[in-house]
């Protein structure tokens, strides 16, 4: 409930008048708009959370209310350790693990491959550099969604359905990270390469000892953006993973909904808690690394 606390704090800052300064009507109005905006973003989540603390029967009677019950533990156990499908393998824990594999695998893969390619394009005299550049950057133009079916066929032909490779690698086939690192490397002063060369550093040493440490902040920012992007993938995992033990939380959401409505007494508490668990890791990352994240987002221009 840290969001609710923060909301209360925000409200409190409004009500404490600053010493010696008259509060103008305009300022109150500004805060009012911001509070409304914050409520617009947060109230839905609080409602979803509230429903996980009360018995499902109560939800059917009254819907979301202001009452905080004691069912959270129970719902947590059901959500994390009880399977919702047929195979008995898609427990919350398993889905959470898959989500982490997808999020981290995607972010790391994209950053490593992107940095390597960007390094090759920016720092080497390459005859076909321009060609490589265009071949790579054309991929920025077409999102996976428009070529979803043929991509599925390719993965199927390679026998990569229901595997982590099949899930992650095709998502990496877009050059956002490469483009971003290219921009960044170009802004690194040229004297650095010259100095390194005079000191006798080869290209590998320069990359590992100078360029990578120099790009630390950028790598962090990229990681956050890419982790959230990978974690939140839906359409691609829906097509590629059909076996329940491969489901991620976000991919499993449709099934969670069906479980919610399928029973005689719909299991709202459990379903809502799974939805909240699917939200927590990316939100946590975004909030706690806010400044890096904002910097990465606004400077990379996606």
């Amino acid at each position: 409930m840290s969001e609710a606390n923060a909301a209360a704090m925000a409200a409190a800052t409004l009500s404490t008048p600053s010493k010696g300064r008259r509060i103008k009507a305009g300022t109150v109005f500004d805060h009012l708009i911001l509070i409304l905006g914050a409520l617009f973003m947060i109230v839905p989540l609080i409602m979803v959370f509230q429903m996980t603390t009360v018995p499902d029967v109560e939800v059917i009677k009254t819907g979301p209310s202001f009452k905080i019950g004691d069912q959270l533990d129970d719902n947590f156990n059901k959500a994390m350790f009880e399977a919702s499908g047929f195979s008995g393998k898609n427990t919350g824990t398993n889905m959470l693990l898959n989500s982490f594999i997808l999020g981290i695998g995607f972010a790391v893969g994209k950053i490593v491959i992107g940095m390597m390619a960007a390094y090759a394009i920016v720092y080497f005299r390459l005859r076909f550099a321009t060609l490589a550049f265009w071949v790579i950057f054309t991929t920025l133009l077409l999102p996976l969604e428009v070529r979803i079916l043929p991509s599925y066929e390719v993965v199927q032909r390679l026998g990569m359905l229901n595997t982590y490779q099949g899930l992650i690698i095709p998502l990496i086939a877009s050059a956002t990270a490469t483009f971003f690192f290219r921009q960044y490397f170009r802004s690194v002063p040229e004297e650095l390469v010259e100095a390194a060369r005079i000191d006798g550093a080869g290209p590998v040493k320069f990359f590992v000892d100078i360029l990578v440490p120099l790009s630390k902040t950028m790598i962090a920012a990229m990681f956050i953006i890419m982790f959230v992007y990978g974690w939140n993938q839906y359409l691609w995992p829906t097509m590629i993973t059909t076996e329940e033990d491969m489901f991620t939380l976000v991919r499993g959401i449709k099934q969670i909904t069906q479980v919610m409505e399928g029973n005689r007494i719909p299991e709202y508490g459990r379903a809502n808690l799974l939805a909240i668990i699917a939200i927590i890791p990316p939100v946590f990352v975004v909030i706690f690394f806010q400044s890096w994240f904002v910097k990465g987002l606004t400077e990379s221009d996606k």
Binding site: I121, V146, P150, Y234, I253
Partner: protein
Amino acid sequence: MKRAGFATKWLPILLLVPQLTIIAVFFYWPAAHAVQSSFYLQDPFGFGSSFVGFDNYSDLMDNREYRRIAWFTVIFTVLVTFFSLAIALLLAVKADKVIRGAKSYRTLIMWVYAVAPPVAGFIGLILFNQSWGPLTRLIGQFGHQFTLGVNYTDTAFAMVLVSVWKQVPVNFIFFLSGLQSIPKSVREAALIDNRSASGRFWDVTFPLLAPTGFFLLIINITYALFDTFGVIDTLVKGEPGNNPMTLVYKVYVDGFRGNDLGGSSAQSVILMILVLALTVFQFRMLERRIHYT
């Protein structure tokens, strides 16, 4: 390329191989395949295919349902783009103005960025639950029986609302950083020249934010076209039926569920052309943006 680059021959090629391989296999191959199969009619039972030229395309153009979906996509995109930009701009201007609690507001508004679209759709299902959903009740107070997934307009409304909710934070982050990059001297000069706050906003702030706005316009259009897939799929619970859907959802429904490979590929190609046009437009805007700043 840097002037003082390395002259090693084999290393850069080695570095480029992973990226180029992945792109060749998972980008160029599928894209080429989509273009190719859009000119063929696939046998529904998998017994080969025959070349039909532009038939798949002209069939689409003649298809009333496809035209209706295209039209819905346009309206949906306009609504989502407009409202998420407008709300975000208002909030960003206010968040830039207040001194107290500015950081808390920023956090409270932007966290939704990290919520996956289908999870946003799930939250929408809760809010619009038929028997006890708080928004269903609220709308019921005004005498309208809201039925998500049954009534076309109601479902469309829920889709727009959830999509806007999900997109406001991104726009907010960009607008806020755009506002914060306006130099103090410019603001002070404006303060002297123009006494009314709204006058200052429209004459000074808004034009300075225009490049950010153009950029966000494209981002939002792409979002409404592609990333809302998860919102739509959860809100209709995977049962499109007579519910509104966007062009991307239609590609999925026809190709993956309906097994109409040729038609689905033709739709993919149409979308590709649309995105290409958008991107070219975006790049020209970005060029102009550099001159602005």
